[in-house]
């Protein structure tokens, strides 16, 4: 538990390396919601194969590393209502704001983008409020 921050840092560097490859080689910003959303609403039609290739790497590579761990516990909720509501909110919110934790967070903050910084402030605020109200206020999660 106390070494979690070291693995956080190592994983963060790997995430940064992914963003660097996508920017310097593909000339694209690595934002998970935008890459998927562009395929879903058709706005990314001219870069379809590249988007599929990125998503394939994101979906296929982590399971290959899972056997290195004794357990990968996701502690994910099994409440169907919570999962559907949260998924809808994440889908709508990230597309309305044009970015999520990777696009606005990692890529936007590092570019010192005002939009990226403002988005990060508000999704942290929204996340903290929703969690504290749902957990400590309503006892839902």
């Amino acid at each position: 538990m106390h070494q979690d921050w070291i693995w956080g840092l190592v994983g963060g560097l790997m995430i940064g390396a992914g963003a660097a490859v996508y920017l310097l080689l593909n000339g694209r910003i690595m934002g998970a919601s935008g890459i998927l959303g562009g395929l879903i609403d058709g706005s990314g039609r001219d870069t379809t194969p590249e988007r599929f290739a990125f998503l394939a790497g994101l979906i296929v590579v982590p399971p290959l590393l899972v056997p290195l761990y004794k357990v990968v516990d996701t502690h994910v909720s099994s409440n169907i209502g919570v999962l559907i509501l949260a998924g809808l909110l994440v889908g709508i919110g990230t597309r309305l704001a044009n970015g999520c934790t990777s696009g606005h967070g990692v890529c936007g903050i590092s570019r010192l983008s005002l939009r990226g910084i403002v988005a990060t402030v508000f999704y942290l605020l929204g996340g903290g409020l929703a969690l504290v109200i749902a957990r400590h206020g309503l006892g839902l999660i």
């Binding site: 979690d4 921050w5 693995w7 956080g8 190592v10 994983g11 963060g12 790997m14 995430i15 940064g16 992914g18 963003a19 660097a20 490859v21 996508y22 920017l23 310097l24 080689l25 593909n26 000339g27 694209r28 690595m30 919601s33 998927l36 879903i40 194969p49 590249e50 290739a53 990125f54 394939a56 790497g57 994101l58 979906i59 516990d73 996701t74 502690h75 994910v76 919570v82 999962l83 559907i84 949260a86 998924g87 909110l89 994440v90 889908g91 709508i92 919110g93 309305l96 704001a97 999520c100 590092s110 939009r115 942290l124 605020l125 929204g126 996340g127 903290g128 409020l129 929703a130 504290v132």
Partner: protein, 150 residues
């Protein structure tokens, strides 16, 4: 080549999320829950990703095309508007409720069980609904400049 490097970028991203423990919803919710047993891991993940990317943006700024000869991103929108703020609040609320954002939800899709599949399905539905919602917001409250922010 372009698709191979995109696959590589996605793989590094996913592997990093796994190594960092970001597919563990308890860690994400532990960071957001300032009244609970607070978990600072997410700050180290962000720091590890953001600091090297600052240098990468300096390299990117000097280039007209990428190392594969592709156009670099440009003409970034500057406007902080309603959709950015409202969208980020909604996204954050979903992130807090489930402890999942799009990257880790997709990264753990293949091994995380039905919960991840259901979340990703709902997220995809939300993404499909958003263009219509954008249009609705635009009609209800058009921006003074008459421009869409997309």
């Amino acid at each position: 080549m372009r698709n191979f490097t995109a696959f590589l970028a996605g793989g590094l991203f996913g592997a990093g999320l796994l190594v960092a423990g970001m597919v563990d919803t308890a860690k994400v919710q532990g960071w957001l829950d300032v009244f609970g047993d607070w978990d600072p891991t997410l700050a180290f993940v962000m720091g590890g990703a953001v600091l090297p990317m600052m240098g990468v943006w300096r390299i990117a700024a000097r280039r007209k095309t990428s190392y594969l000869g592709l156009p670099m991103p440009g003409d970034f929108p500057q406007l902080v508007d309603r959709n950015l703020v409202l969208g980020s609040l909604l996204f954050g609320a979903g992130w807090g409720l489930a402890g999942l954002c799009p990257g880790p939800a997709l990264g753990a899709l293949a091994f995380g069980g039905w919960q991840f599949a259901l979340f990703v399905l709902a997220m995809g539905a939300g993404m499909a609904l958003t263009p219509a919602l954008r249009g609705l917001l635009q009609r209800l409250d058009p921006p003074p400049t008459g421009q869409d922010d997309a």
